[in-house]
Subunit: 285 residues, 2 copies
């Protein structure tokens, strides 16, 4: 693949969470499988953008004619500043907006809290032909909920199973699930938060609560480790992407999506009408 | 404005539907106010893209900090092939997907038909800081509904008033409404439909029903004329954009959005926390 020219190994395998995975083993500044620098990475991203746009259009087309029910759900999880927004803007931004279904899950509202935690999630699952993107997700309910004890331990335990059930049902409904955790170091996070405090055009991205969360980093790392152990399934794998280099994280997520789309063996759907007949009708119209 | 260098007159005024407006007076192949060619138009679009992205980010930022409630709703209406999808892809595609709320209104479902026609519309109005885009809209309920007599004449009449009431309420909730009709000629439409029939990668975009609709073109033109007469209001103006040249239509819609955003006199919101205090906290964290 042209967009993969600097890949020295398949990043899919390198980034996928396996049996003995330990989050603490991962270097957030590494660039697994890619031997190029930032410039090479940005070039590769630009090359991949066209391919991603083409494949997305085929996915979408198949849902509009021919009844292909397949869809993709990209779940993005990370500590603050790790670059979820950048993924949406720079990876998904290259795709026709009509084919992307984006859902950002904030602090739950009163109404949302009065239902099961998956209530608001179900409403946002992507339709056929779509690439759904969850900016935060149902995993918040076992991450911040665990760290800040927003629910009793038994309820948190129940949720891991509920999440696996939920995801299994989505996969059964022709959804390919890709779960990504963007992994940044504490030092890189400090620098990014500093930048937000230094620049007047970035102030709006900062919230004093970000520092409170930052102080809980060790607990979050534990909670993520637990998530990987409880919710890594063959059908809904986790990928941990080192994210100290924004360019690498973006390229890696793009690569995951390209991989999923290429495995789908997409093609333009065949006309479900008689092309010649319609040509004649049109000429007369 | 740099992006407006080929504009010989403000297209806003030229494209806005006024008192004596007649759709039949508009030449779909014209490029009002722009004296450049396709290449110049595409350059101007690329230049405007950065400006649009910047202003959109300020609009969004203001809603996240400082409580700015303003938002934009772009309504797109047109006959098939006129280029609504291209507007979404090439104009809105340059904006961060997180700031765009896109809603495509198809043939209503049974559930939607069992409610008032505005029921499904209300659910899709943009939130604060967002640019909402309606790909087709509540106007279908006085366009196809009128042409194909899907509702009695008295109900159609009632709907014009209901639409004006609805839009007035949106404007009162800090929404700037921009209503666009993309206007293509019958000949250009035939050519575009032909292309969809010729190319295997475009077959999915064609539907035999498109020709049925095409045959009703005169009735649609009448129905649009009636829409302009009944629902052109100072707060929710209509713009008719000649769309035989795709590049012109895209540039014109971008210009309308830039104009709206520039009038908002946006700026980065001021920090609602003590920046110095947070710097110190961060350094210690």
């Amino acid at each position: 693949m042209k967009h993969a020219s600097h890949w020295t190994a398949d990043p899919i395998e390198l980034l996928r969470v396996g049996e003995q995975f330990r989050l603490s083993d991962i270097d957030p500044a590494s660039t697994p499988g890619f031997d190029g620098d930032k410039k090479a990475g940005e070039l590769a991203l630009a090359e991949g953008a066209d391919r991603l746009a083409d494949l997305q259009e085929q996915l979408f087309a198949g849902s509009r004619m021919g009844g292909d029910q397949r869809r993709i759900l990209l779940v993005l999880q990370a500590m603050d500043t790790a670059g979820k927004g950048g993924i949406v803007k720079h990876v998904m931004g290259s795709v026709d907006p009509q084919g992307v279904q984006l859902a950002a899950f904030k602090k739950p509202t009163e109404a949302e809290l009065s239902h099961d935690f998956l209530w608001r999630i179900h409403k946002e699952v992507p339709g056929p032909g779509m690439i759904g993107v969850f900016d935060r997700s149902h995993y918040e309910d076992v991450l911040i909920a665990r760290v800040r004890e927003l629910a009793p331990p038994a309820e948190i335990e129940r949720r891991y199973d509920a999440i696996n059930d939920f995801e299994r049902a989505q996969v059964a409904s022709n959804t390919t699930i890709v779960k990504v955790m963007l992994h940044i170091s504490g030092e890189e996070q400090r620098e990014r938060l500093q930048k937000r405090l230094e620049r007047a055009d970035k102030h709006w991205k900062f919230n004093p609560g970000d520092i409170d969360e930052r102080l809980l980093r060790p607990k979050y790392q534990e909670a993520y480790q637990r998530v990987f152990e409880r919710t890594t399934t063959p059908d809904a794998p986790w990928f941990v992407i080192p994210a100290d280099h924004k360019w690498y994280a973006r390229l890696a997520v793009q690569h995951l999506l390209l991989d999923v789309l290429e495995r789908m063996e997409l093609d333009w759907p065949k006309a479900d009408y008689d092309v010649e007949e319609q040509r004649k009708r049109l000429a007369k119209s």
